[in-house]
Symmetry: C2
Subunit: 316 residues, 2 copies
Amino acid sequence: MTTTLYGAIEAGGTKFRCVVARGIEEVLAEVRVPTTTPEATLAQVTAFFADASARLGTVSALGIATFGPVDLDRRSPSFGRILATPKAGWSNTDLVGTLLRQLGRPVAIDTDVNASARAEFERGYDAGVINSLVYVTVGTGIGGGAVIDGRTVKGLLHPEMGHVQVRRDSRDAQFEGICPFHGDCLEGLASGPAILARWGAPLSALAPEHIAHAVIGGYLGQLACSVTLLLSPQRIVFGGGVMDDTRLLQEIRTRASALLGGYLPHERLPAGLETYITAPTLGTRSGLMGALLLARDAAREDRLGGLGSPETVSER
Amino acid sequence: MTTTLYGAIEAGGTKFRCVVARGIEEVLAEVRVPTTTPEATLAQVTAFFADASARLGTVSALGIATFGPVDLDRRSPSFGRILATPKAGWSNTDLVGTLLRQLGRPVAIDTDVNASARAEFERGYDAGVINSLVYVTVGTGIGGGAVIDGRTVKGLLHPEMGHVQVRRDSRDAQFEGICPFHGDCLEGLASGPAILARWGAPLSALAPEHIAHAVIGGYLGQLACSVTLLLSPQRIVFGGGVMDDTRLLQEIRTRASALLGGYLPHERLPAGLETYITAPTLGTRSGLMGALLLARDAAREDRLGGLGSPETVSER
């Protein structure tokens, strides 16, 4: 049994979930801080960790799974900062620097969806069997993260799958979309607020025969199809609040399969589409688990004494 | 100076280009074999390598960069075979097995576009600086390959980017598309034959003010946008015969940039879009260079005596 303590933050647009855990499984303290201004939110976050440290002992490292866009390039002067975002006041917020200064422990960071993808990849039902996985969250926004050959994808920035263009459903042609950047990109059409904007209720509250189910399932099925054709992952996991609609996952499968036509390699899917397009094994805990895995990375690198992975920094 | 001989095949839908080279740069013999039936084509291919071996010496290994879909999973019973394809007679053709039996040398295989991506990644103008790259070919068909963290992407199958859905241009709404699987997927709309089907000439022969340039640039710009949002590569290279139209690359840049809106991280592109969406450094040689790099992999693994990478097989 490890006795190492880890701190983890899942930084979202409406709340910051923070935990202190023994190892990556045993949560000892948890708090949810509303996302208001960077100053107020980060003050509450650091207060939580300071208090937890006083009661439970010092955390060995901190992992952050954050909303994006965020600079994940260690060599960049803005590493660890939120980039230009429509979230009022948050552009250029120095997440990593602030927490590093306040807590004095090593910090590792990735996007919330990359962290969730990694958690599902390492802790999901067939961890160790697959080598790639895409995680999509459909909630207040839409985002996607990816693990390829065991590592999360960063590259020029990091995946921002929610803003992909989809072909419009003719039954939904009048709606302009709500994305401030792109209007009717996927997030502008199929996120929770976009569903509310034109139908006045979440999917799960609309009648089974309401066209919203097929329309939204179709848009998300297009994403699953594009992900398959561009990334060829071994699994696509759909999480987030909009997925609480119990029939949506099957709609996505049906639509993606129809769009892929002969290009879905069924012979590689012995148990069929249900194992390819799936719900999160970890439920709503993927993001926090991903942040804990990041904390464990940072602690290991700190012990090894090297700068190590490009996602981790520590003051020495 | 290496004196090692490598064999390489770029297996395409209209021709198989075969070379024997000293090292990966010095081509000693080359032939183009028309793609007819698997039996006739592969007989000519193996005859070329047998003849070249007699004249030049035995090749240490063979690399194949092939059209897809192809099974790249070493653990699969159909490894090295072409999967279901509209190319008459080619479904289930055992490329790797046939060449392994005929030539008795180790064989490595990848898709043509993955091989091209790798060649541009390792031999392109800023090799060693980037860690990810997407290569798209626009010709008889449309395909895309990817290098992420230095390795080509395989996963469940391999990328099949040409069959992604794009939003239709209203100026092009009447055309049904020519993809036998998906009708008006990207390949069905923007490949060379799709351009010929509705405008009767290649892009480069149409007047500068013809809408075809903007329509096709728009469709390919959508792909560049989707690639950016889903894969976040550090470079996207567009090759293939349709790209001979000298203004198409700029059309793609313009359209992708407009679609990405605020989500293209311009600060990471010091020299602008021209270094992000580019022509191949290796011109039309990317595929063959990729096949030579695969041959070098196979030869190295053969010397090391291990089964090594999942893409390489050898008879012992």
